[in-house]
C-alpha cells in the first residue's frame, strides 16, 4: 500500500537560496511523523510545498500513490491536506462554529441564508467523533489557546482533511495543553488520519511521533524510529555535531549585591495581583534563576525590575539606588540590560534594519548619538560588530529585522544587550523558539558575562535551562517564591513538585510562608554600595 504522503525529491529554490534540496519524505497512513530541524532548516518551506503555497522547483508530491501538482492551498485542501498554522487563522469575535464553517457554510433557502442550526450540528458531530472538547457557541476570543488550536484542527477536518500538518503546535501551549494535544493526535491517528508536525523540540518529537525526520540546511539528514533513538542522537543530527545539552557552568567569583527586590507586589493588566511579596537579591558574578510554569507572575516581575511596569508595593534597588519608580532610560543608563521574552514585540522594530535596531536603547547615549545627533557610521559599525560577534545570519546590517529567522533575531538582541557593558542582565526566556545551536551559543555568552562579574537574572520555563545555568534558583508559583534552591542539589522531580506549588516541608504545618531569600542570602543591604563599586571596578 502506498504511503499516505510521499514527497519525492523535493527541491525548492528561492533567489539566492536553496531552501529544500532533494528531500524525500514518506509518511504512512495513521502515523504521526515529526519533522525536526533548527530554525531555517527548511521545515516550513517543505510543508508549504505540500500545502500548495509553493510550487517545488523540482520533485513530486504523491498522496496515496497519486501524483498531485498543487497550484494553491485550495488544491491541497481539496486533496485532503489540512494545515494548522502556528498563528491561528481564526476570527476572534466570531464563534467556534462560525470559524470552523467559514468559507464552507451550510446554506439554506437557495443560498440566501446560512443554515445556522445545521452548522452547529455539523460542528458538534465532528467534535464528538474525535472526542474534542469545544464549545460550539463560544467566541474565539473567550476560549483558551488550547481550545483555539482544537478549533483549528476541527476546521481542517471539517474541510475533509486526511493529512494534517501542524506547524510548531506546542509553541503557544502550556505543558498541560501539550499533553491534551498529544492525546488529540493519538485519537486522530487511531481514526486513520495522518499527521505531520513541525518542531524543533527534541523531547516532543520523541514523545508524540512514530517516526522522526531531521532536516538540516534544507536537506534531510535522516529518518529514525522514535522508539529507537535518543535525544542526543537527534540533537547531533540536527546540528551536525555533538551538542552539550547539559551545561557545565562551573563557578564564578560572586561579588556584591547588584540588584535587590524586596516585598514587591505587582498587578497584571487586569488588576489581578500577579506578583505577591517577592524578595531576592542578585549578586555580581551570579546567575539567579527563576523557574516556574509560564503565567505565574514571571513576566510581571521582570517588567517591574526592568521598569516597564510600576510595582504596587515593595522596593527595587539597583546598584544601591532605589529604582522602584525609575524610568527605563534611567535603568539602561545605570547598566541594566534586558533581553525581553517577546523579541518581535519588545526586542526589535521589525520594519527597521539591523543598523537601526542596534541603536535601540543607546539612542540617548553619548557613544552613538552624541548631542542628540546619531552618528550613523558608528551605529553601522556597532551593528556590524554585533552581527560578526554573535554570528547573526545573513551577516548584513542592512537586512530588515523581520526577514531574519527567529533564532537570528534573538542572537542579535542578545548581542545588543550583552554589548551594553551591563551590570545586570535581565534575560527573559532568552532561548525561546531558538534552535539548538543558537541556544548553546547564547548559554555560553551568558556564562561568560557571569565570569566577568555581571549579575544575571534569568527567567525561563525550560527547566534544563534554568537548572543548568543558575547558581541559585527560585521557583515561582502563583506570584510567590515557593523556595530558593541550589540547582545542583535539587532533582528535576523536586523542582517539578515545587513548580506545581508544593511547598517544601508542607507536612510541618503551621509554619506559614517560607522565607524565600532568607536561606540564600546572608548579606545585609549595608555593604551594598561598596560591593557594587568593587564589581564595577573589576570590570573596568
Amino acid at each position: 500500500m502506498p504511503s499516505a504522503v510521499h514527497l519525492d525529491g523535493i527541491t525548492k529554490r528561492f533567489p539566492g537560496v536553496v531552501a529544500n534540496d532533494d528531500v524525500d519524505l514518506e509518511v504512512e497512513r495513521g502515523t504521526v511523523h515529526a519533522l525536526l530541524g533548527e530554525n531555517g532548516a527548511g521545515k516550513t518551506t517543505l510543508m508549504n510545498v505540500l500545502y500548495g503555497l509553493y510550487e517545488p522547483t523540482s520533485g513530486e508530491v504523491r498522496l496515496d500513490g497519486k501524483t498531485h501538482a498543487f497550484g494553491s492551498p485550495r488544491d491541497a485542501i481539496d486533496a485532503g491536506i489540512g494545515m494548522i498554522h502556528q498563528h491561528f487563522m481564526l476570527v476572534d469575535p466570531m464563534t467556534v462554529t462560525e470559524n470552523i464553517t467559514l468559507g464552507n457554510e451550510p446554506r439554506k433557502w437557495g443560498g440566501l441564508a446560512v443554515d445556522r442550526a445545521g452548522s452547529r450540528e455539523a460542528v458538534v458531530e465532528l467534535a464528538d467523533r474525535y472526542g474534542f472538547d469545544v464549545d460550539p457557541d463560544a467566541r474565539i476570543e473567550d476560549v483558551s489557546v488550547g481550545e483555539q488550536q482544537r478549533v483549528e484542527i476541527l476546521k481542517a477536518l471539517y474541510r475533509g482533511a486526511d493529512t494534517l500538518i501542524l506547524d510548531e503546535p506546542t509553541a503557544v501551549l502550556t505543558p498541560q495543553e501539550v499533553g491534551e494535544l498529544f492525546d488529540v493526535l493519538d485519537e486522530l491517528t487511531a481514526q486513520g488520519k495522518t499527521i505531520i508536525f513541525i518542531t524543533h523540540k527534541l523531547g516532543e518529537a520523541m514523545r508524540a511521533a512514530d517516526e522522526i525526520s531531521v532536516l538540516r540546511d534544507g536537506r534531510k539528514v535522516g529518518s529514525v524510529d522514535a522508539d529507537a533513538t535518543t535525544q542526543a542522537e537527534l540533537a547531533e543530527l540536527m546540528v551536525g555535531r555533538e551538542v552539550l545539552l547539559d551545561v557545565d557552568h562551573g563557578t564564578a567569583e560572586t561579588g556584591g549585591v547588584v540588584a535587590s527586590v524586596s516585598d514587591v507586589a505587582v498587578d497584571d493588566d487586569r488588576g489581578v495581583r500577579a506578583v505577591d511579596g517577592v524578595s531576592f537579591e542578585v549578586r555580581g558574578g551570579e546567575v539567579f534563576g527563576i523557574a516556574g510554569v509560564d503565567g505565574n507572575g514571571q513576566s510581571e516581575l521582570v517588567e517591574a525590575v526592568t521598569g516597564l511596569r510600576t510595582p504596587d508595593a515593595g522596593e527595587i534597588r539597583f546598584r544601591g539606588e532605589d529604582v522602584t519608580t525609575a524610568s527605563r532610560r534611567d535603568r539602561i543608563d545605570a547598566g541594566m540590560a534586558y533581553v525581553p521574552e517577546d523579541r518581535q514585540d519588545r526586542g526589535l522594530v521589525m520594519e527597521f534594519d539591523l543598523v537601526e535596531n542596534g541603536l535601540l536603547g543607546s539612542q540617548h547615549g553619548t557613544e552613538l548619538a552624541a548631542n542628540g545627533r546619531i552618528d550613523w557610521s558608528k551605529t553601522r559599525g556597532h551593528a556590524q560588530a554585533i552581527i560578526d560577534e554573535y554570528d547573526v545570519r545573513p551577516p548584513d546590517a542592512d537586512t530588515d529585522a523581520e526577514s531574519l529567522s527567529g533564532g537570528n533575531q534573538q542572537k542579535f538582541i542578545v548581542g545588543r544587550e550583552f554589548e551594553r557593558d551591563p551590570e545586570l542582565v535581565v534575560a527573559s526566556h532568552p532561548t525561546r523558539g531558538v534552535d539548538v545551536g543558537s541556544i548553546e551559543f547564547i548559554h555560553e555568552r551568558l556564562l561568560e558575562l557571569r565570569q566577568q562579574g555581571v549579575a544575571i537574572l534569568l527567567v525561563s520555563s525550560k527547566l534544563e535551562e534554568v537548572q543548568g545555568l543558575s547558581d541559585r534558583l527560585a521557583v515561582v508559583y502563583e506570584g510567590e517564591f515557593i523556595d530558593v534552591v541550589d540547582p545542583d542539589e535539587t532533582t528535576e522531580e523536586e523542582l517539578g513538585l515545587l513548580m506545581a506549588g508544593e511547598r517544601p516541608g508542607d507536612d510541618g504545618g503551621g509554619g506559614g510562608e517560607p522565607e524565600p531569600t532568607g536561606n540564600a542570602d546572608g548579606t545585609e543591604r549595608g555593604g551594598l554600595a561598596d560591593r557594587t563599586d568593587a564589581a564595577g571596578g573589576e570590570r573596568a
Partner: protein
C-alpha cells in the same frame, strides 16, 4: 513563532478585557439612550403642565408630526451613507470618502433626471456615478494598496470640486435648475395616525432606506457573504486560508458602499429637485456625520440608523424652533454629532473597530 508568548498573554487577558469592554460600551449606549428618553419624557411632561413655557414649545416641536417627517428626510442621505460605510469598514477598508460619494451622486442624479426627465432614471444615474467613484477608490486602495485615509480624502475633494464645476459648465451656475420630484407615498389609514403617521407618508427614498437597513442587517447576520465581510475585516488571512478571496470580498464591499452612498446622495437631491453646489455643497458634511453615526451605532445597521435619527432629530427640532422664533444657533446643533462621537470614542473608547481595518492584505502566493 517568537511572539508566541505574547499571543498567549493576549489570549489569556482578552476575554476579561473584552467582556468589560462590551459591558462598558453597552452601558454607555444604554446611558445615552436612557438620558435621551428621560429628557424627552421630562420635557413632554413639563410641556403638558406649562403649555406656554419654553418647555411647552419644545414639547410641541417634539411631538409634531412635521418634526418626525423632517428628521426622516434628513436621515435618508446620512443613514444610506452610514450603511455604505459599515460595509466598507467591516471588510477592512475605511471609506472616509462617503461625503464625496454623496456629492457626486447628488449632482449626477439631478443631471440625469434633467436630461432624461425621469426621476428614477436620475436616481439610477446617481447610484451609478457614486459606484464608479467607489470603484476607483477600490482599485486605488485594494489593487494598488494606497493609504485608505488619503484615498478617501481624495474622493471627497475630487467630488467637491467636480460636481459644482460640472454644474457650472452645464448650467452656468453651481446650482442646477430644479427637476420634478416624485410624490410622497401614503399608506392608507396608517398615514393618518398622529405623529407616527409621518412614517407612512414619506418620500419613496424613506421606504427604500427602511429596506436597506433591514437588508444590511440581514446580510451581516444571516448570510455567508456577511460573514466573509466580517472575517475580511477582522482576520483576512483566516478568510484567505479558508479559500475565500479577500480581494474579491473587499471589492464587493466597497462597491456596495458606493451603491448605498449613491442612493443616499441621489435621494438627497431628488427629494428637493435641485443640486446646490455652493461652498460645501448641499451635502454639507452629511457623509462625515454618517461615519459618526455608524461608529456610534457600533457597526450595526440598525444602530447606525437610530444614531442617525438622533442626530437628524436634533436638527429637525432646531429647525422647528427656529420657525417659532426661538433660536438655538444652528451651528451648535450641527456640531452635536461630532461632540458625541468624541465622547463615545475618546472617553468611553469602546467602539470596537475591525481588527484589520485600514490594513492592506496580500496573499502569500
Amino acid at each position: 513563532m517568537s511572539d508566541a508568548p505574547a499571543d498567549r498573554a493576549d489570549a489569556d487577558t482578552a476575554p476579561g478585557d473584552d467582556d468589560a469592554g462590551f459591558l462598558e460600551g453597552y452601558t454607555t449606549r444604554a446611558l445615552v439612550g436612557g438620558v435621551t428618553v428621560a429628557a424627552v419624557v421630562a420635557l413632554l411632561l413639563a410641556g403638558l403642565l406649562f403649555p406656554d413655557s419654553l418647555a411647552g414649545t419644545l414639547a410641541d416641536a417634539l411631538t409634531s408630526r412635521n418634526t418626525l417627517a423632517a428628521a426622516l428626510r434628513l436621515s435618508v442621505p446620512i443613514a444610506f451613507a452610514a450603511l455604505g460605510g459599515i460595509f466598507a469598514e467591516k471588510s477592512g477598508v475605511i471609506n472616509i470618502g462617503l461625503e464625496g460619494l454623496l456629492i457626486i451622486s447628488a449632482f449626477s442624479a439631478i443631471y440625469v433626471a434633467d436630461v432624461t426627465g425621469g426621476v428614477w432614471i436620475g436616481f439610477a444615474g446617481g447610484v451609478a456615478a457614486s459606484t464608479l467613484l467607489a470603484a476607483l477608490f477600490a482599485v486605488v486602495t485594494i489593487g494598488f494598496r494606497a493609504d485608505q485615509i488619503i484615498a478617501g480624502l481624495a474622493v471627497w475633494l475630487i467630488a467637491l470640486g467636480l460636481a459644482p464645476f460640472a454644474s457650472q459648465v452645464i448650467y452656468g451656475s453651481p446650482n442646477t435648475p430644479t427637476v420634478a420630484t416624485s410624490p410622497s407615498i401614503n399608506v392608507p389609514v396608517l398615514a393618518d395616525l398622529p405623529f407616527f403617521g409621518a412614517l407612512f407618508s414619506a418620500s419613496p427614498s424613506v421606504y427604500l432606506l427602511f429596506a436597506a437597513v433591514f437588508g444590511s442587517w440581514y446580510v451581516f447576520e444571516r448570510t455567508a457573504f456577511g460573514r466573509w465581510i466580517r472575517a475580511s475585516g477582522e482576520n483576512p488571512k483566516a478568510l484567505d486560508t479558508a479559500g475565500v478571496s479577500v480581494t474579491r470580498v473587499r471589492y464587493a464591499a466597497v462597491l456596495i458602499s458606493g451603491v448605498l452612498a449613491g442612493m443616499g446622495g441621489a435621494a438627497l437631491s431628488l427629494d428637493l429637485g435641485q443640486f446646490t453646489g455652493n461652498g460645501p455643497t448641499m451635502v454639507n458634511g452629511k457623509g462625515f456625520i454618517a461615519i459618526v453615526a455608524y461608529l456610534f451605532g457600533n457597526y450595526n445597521p440598525v444602530g447606525a440608523f437610530l444614531s442617525t435619527m438622533l442626530f437628524a432629530g436634533l436638527d429637525a427640532v432646531q429647525t422647528v424652533l427656529q420657525l417659532q422664533g426661538i433660536g438655538i444657533p444652528r451651528q451648535l446643533i450641527r456640531i452635536t454629532p461630532f461632540v458625541v462621537v468624541i465622547i463615545v470614542l475618546a472617553l468611553v473608547g469602546r467602539t470596537r473597530l475591525p481588527e484589520a481595518a485600514g490594513e492592506h492584505y496580500e496573499t502569500e502566493e
